[in-house]
């Protein structure tokens, strides 16, 4: 494990040398002080005007999660078939924002687009996690259920009660993620919190921006008080009613998207030029079209995405290892513990996209803001988990008194395997985030996808998204290989 860790640290150091970490803004610190002033003078009154955006954020999340759960259960039932497994890996490898880009030309910039952008990747995630929960659950109770009882009866009596708590917990956690996704989707123009957050930050109205952020934190922290299982059906129903007023689906658009917009430009060019919209087909121009994109955009995008991912992978690990003792009962007093605990929650609650957006405003577009944004968000998630796991470690009565000894000899060895497994588990997530932050002007794959969308080149955007997917699935299998070789697992951890 140590060897592998050091190997990845070495890669990250090389990547760090190659990364562009420049601060390009002229007065980063004045802007920061204005931002800090906004943080202590939030414009709460402005929230009243933005209530609809807050409501939309929640509505999108409910509808998206609901559809994701329904589709996910269906897919989980068939998860033992390899094509289904692959399909799930495929749809979850595409970030919500990229999904929104894909749905944009089909359904337009409206709530349906936002809901689908959440539902589809989440369905892939739910399918995988539900299937894993069932697989790892205690199967003995099922033995007591007569074999001839019929699939559904066997499931509700022999499996569902056993997995219910884990599934509920995980789905609840995912709802929190969906709120983040929903908020972020505002950054590309959907009517959620992110839309106003972006406007406020861009125009420097920091008091309003902070009010929105605080509202978002309160929304997430208060989840435990209003997200009761028995109320969920009501919430979902109301959300769909609210959403239904704006559903617009045009078959014409869908058909055109799949049969025309999607096709590589060389196939459409002649038809566009002579106005007939005819489709022509020839290998050579298509190959050179693909080649062109690779040479000018894709390779650079891939390179930067990988460099950024490797830096944040190790950065996240370091942040987590340094931060978790502060939130762990074996190292600090009760009050310091609570403060660190909530500190980590606040950092992990802030979507990495928003963190990156703020940092880009401060430092200008380079890898520096992206590194810190992904590192802080994931590091806080991981640190929180590690501290929870470390809290479970019973310390022997004659354990070393000095904290550093305790850390190195008692706690770290016990939590390191799980920590590493979880870090590698997040590897794929970090890569997805690295790609997406390109939208903010960092030259990762997202930058080129965003440009293609702005230029109305859907064919090119789709090709680049496919490349991102392949990269993601590649990283996922490397991660699985590493975890398998090190014989480490994230088991015991139910929230990811």
């Amino acid at each position: 494990m140590l060897k592998t860790s050091l190997f990845f640290v070495a890669i990250a150091l090389i990547a760090l040398l190659l990364a562009d970490l420049e601060i390009s803004t002229l007065h980063p610190w004045t802007e920061l002080s204005r931002m800090a002033w906004g943080a202590i003078t939030p414009d709460v009154a402005s929230l009243w005007n933005l209530k609809l955006a807050l409501l939309n954020t929640v509505v999108f999340a409910f509808c998206g999660i609901f559809l994701g759960v329904v589709l996910g259960i269906g897919l989980a039932c068939a998860f033992r078939f390899n094509p289904v497994r692959l399909f799930c890996a495929f749809i979850r490898a595409i970030h919500e924002i990229f999904w929104a880009f894909i749905f944009l030309p089909i359904v337009g910039l409206n709530p349906t687009c936002g809901v689908l952008a959440i539902a589809i990747p989440y369905a892939g995630i739910f399918a995988k996690v539900y299937a894993e929960i069932i697989q790892e659950s205690d199967r003995r109770p099922l033995e007591g259920v007569p074999k001839a009882s019929g699939g559904l009866s066997r499931f509700v009596y022999g499996i569902l009660p056993v997995i219910y708590a884990d599934t509920k917990h995980y789905t609840g956690y995912r709802f929190e993620c969906a709120l983040r996704s929903s908020a972020i989707l505002g950054f590309i123009g959907l009517p959620t919190l992110g839309f106003h957050l972006e406007t406020a930050f861009r125009e420097g109205i920091y008091s309003e921006a902070w009010a929105l952020l605080y509202a978002f934190y309160i929304l997430i922290v208060s989840l435990g008080y209003w997200l009761k299982p028995r109320l969920v059906p009501l919430y979902v129903a109301v959300s769909f009613v609210l959403l239904s007023r704006t559903i617009t689906v045009s078959w014409e658009n869908i058909v055109r998207f799949f049969t025309y917009d999607l096709l590589p430009w060389p196939m459409r060019r002649d038809g566009v030029l002579d106005g007939t919209r005819e489709i022509s087909f020839a290998w050579k121009p298509i190959v050179s079209w693909v080649n062109e994109i690779f040479v000018h955009e894709a390779w650079e995008g891939i390179w930067n995405t990988v460099v950024l991912t490797q830096v944040v992978l190790v950065g996240t690990g370091i942040f987590a290892l340094l931060s978790f003792p502060f939130a762990c009962r074996h190292f600090s007093g009760k009050i310091a513990n609570r403060i660190s605990h909530y500190g980590l929650i606040v950092i992990r609650t802030t979507p990495e996209y928003i963190l990156a957006y703020i940092l880009v405003q401060l430092w200008g577009p380079s890898m520096l803001p992206a590194v810190w944004a992904i590192l802080l968000h994931n590091g806080a998630i991981l640190g929180f988990l590690c501290s929870n796991n470390a809290d479970l470690v019973p310390l022997r009565i004659d354990a070393p008194g000095r904290r550093i000894d305790r850390y190195l000899f008692e706690i770290l060895p016990r939590v390191y395997g799980q920590f590493l497994a979880f870090l590698f588990y997040r590897w794929e997530v970090m890569m997805r985030e690295s790609a997406i932050l390109g939208i903010l002007g960092i030259y990762t794959l997202g930058f080129y996808i965003d440009s293609a969308i702005s230029d109305d080149q859907i064919d090119k955007a789709i090709l680049l998204i496919l490349i991102t997917v392949l990269l993601n699935m590649g990283i996922d299998s490397v991660s699985q290989f590493v975890r398998h070789r090190l014989k480490i697992s994230t088991k015991l951890v139910t929230s990811l």
Binding site: R140, P141, E143, G144, V145, P146, K147, A148, S149, G150, L152, S153, R154, V156, Y157, G158, P161, V162, Y164, A165
Partner: protein, 228 residues
């Protein structure tokens, strides 16, 4: 119920079984007829569980099994766990309804069984919150509720206190035509079974009517196991 003579139920001849945990049955020959009440005794690791599972596999669709580890759904109530014994006899719709709201008819069927086992007050308690002895009685109740003619039970009174153990055995023996039960407590085997099969180290050491089993044979049986 009087068994008609020579209705053979189990017939193993010179059978060897290798099972997970390396417990192996060596060269077992065993005939059991309908209507017999047989106890399997022997030290831990003798192969009692393996033999019971082997027997169960040949009559799975017409028998009930009491698992040594209860195999209960800890998250469900005693009532629902007992009900799973007959899941295959009701429609899926009925099963779902009964999960949401216990049906009167089912309740009337299950209450007397749990009552007889001294568990009527716990009927709607979650099994996960119960003691081992209580869980074991729920497992027995489920097997009884299944209502098959054959019952195979693996240590069904291991966790039940000695006072109730007699009641549990009584219920098992009286409600089912054919019973094969493995027992750690030899005195219960002597009291309730008509026939005792002594097993150690995967082999049958003796197979006799209860009256013919002597204390020396039992001592010998357990000594064999311990020396290995």
């Amino acid at each position: 119920m009087k068994p008609s003579p020579s209705t053979e139920l189990f017939n193993l001849t010179a059978e060897s079984v290798a099972y997970e945990n390396n417990i192996v049955l060596k060269n077992i020959s065993l005939q059991i007829d309908r209507g017999e009440k047989v106890a399997l005794v022997g030290p831990s690791g003798a192969g009692k569980t393996t033999l019971l599972r082997r027997l169960y596999n040949s009559v799975a669709d017409q028998s009930a099994f009491v698992d040594q580890h209860y195999a209960l759904v800890l998250q469900l109530s005693a009532f629902h766990n007992v009900y799973t014994g007959r899941l295959d006899q009701y429609s899926t719709v009925h099963n779902l309804l009964n999960l949401i709201k216990p049906q009167k008819k089912v309740l009337q069927e299950i209450t007397p069984i749990l009552q007889a086992l001294g568990m009527e007050e716990k009927i709607f308690d979650k099994v996960g919150a119960m003691s081992g002895g209580q869980q074991q009685r729920v497992a027995v109740a489920r097997a009884i509720y299944r209502g098959e003619d054959i019952l195979l039970a693996d240590e069904p009174i291991a966790s039940v206190d000695p006072l109730q153990a007699g009641t549990v055995m009584e219920i098992i023996i009286q409600n089912t035509e054919t019973v094969v039960v493995s027992l750690h407590a030899v005195e219960f085997a002597l009291k309730f079974a008509q026939r005792i099969v002594g097993l150690s180290d995967g082999e049958i050491q003796f197979d006799l009517p209860t009256g013919d089993v002597t204390p020396t044979m039992l001592t010998e049986l357990y000594r064999n196991g311990n020396s290995l």
